[in-house]
Symmetry: C2
Subunit: 103 residues, 2 copies
């Protein structure tokens, strides 16, 4: 099934303490607060799979993928108070974030 | 809706000739051949959105995201004759590929 006319927002987090399971649990807990934002249509929280080839980046700690209906919904998500609070409460956990937005 | 118990395979392609619209069309045509592989549950073909913040990587040419039911389905996709033929026929178009697999 083709996902058409959607906005894919895919974020990869690298934790400051990548081996700290508690930090991982905390960040996942934070991400789950974001699922309350009404424009979030579908989401996936993931960790690196066991695949391992040269082109694969499996160095990240958590993958956070959201499907929005459109770009405007993603824009409103960015400034939603729940999202702003998430950044305020949890950003000390990560050292790096990479975001890919695809339409 | 949470996408649970799935395997997300997200590939980003950087074309050798990123401004060549024909190469972009060709690569998308190639990607569509992969959708015939039976284990592909859902897929999305995308281009960079208009979003632009420091953490966003919008330098890629095409985003290719597949949702599989599990890791075994992704493994079989990798060695499917359709996938091998795609790499043979289209890999001269890209200069770089980055893959993120998340479970």
């Amino acid at each position: 099934m083709e996902l058409k006319q959607v906005f894919i927002h895919h974020v990869f987090f690298w934790l400051k303490n990548p081996t700290d399971q508690n930090d991982l649990v905390q960040l996942e807990k934070g991400l789950r607060t974001l699922t309350e934002i009404s424009t979030v249509k579908s989401f996936h929280i993931g960790k690196p799979a066991a695949t391992n080839r040269g082109v694969i980046d499996n160095t990240y700690s958590l993958s956070w993928m959201i499907i929005f209906n459109n770009a405007a919904d993603q824009d409103s998500y960015q400034v939603d108070p729940i999202h702003l609070k998430f950044v305020e409460d949890y950003s000390q956990l990560w050292q790096k974030v990479v975001v890919y937005d695809a339409i």
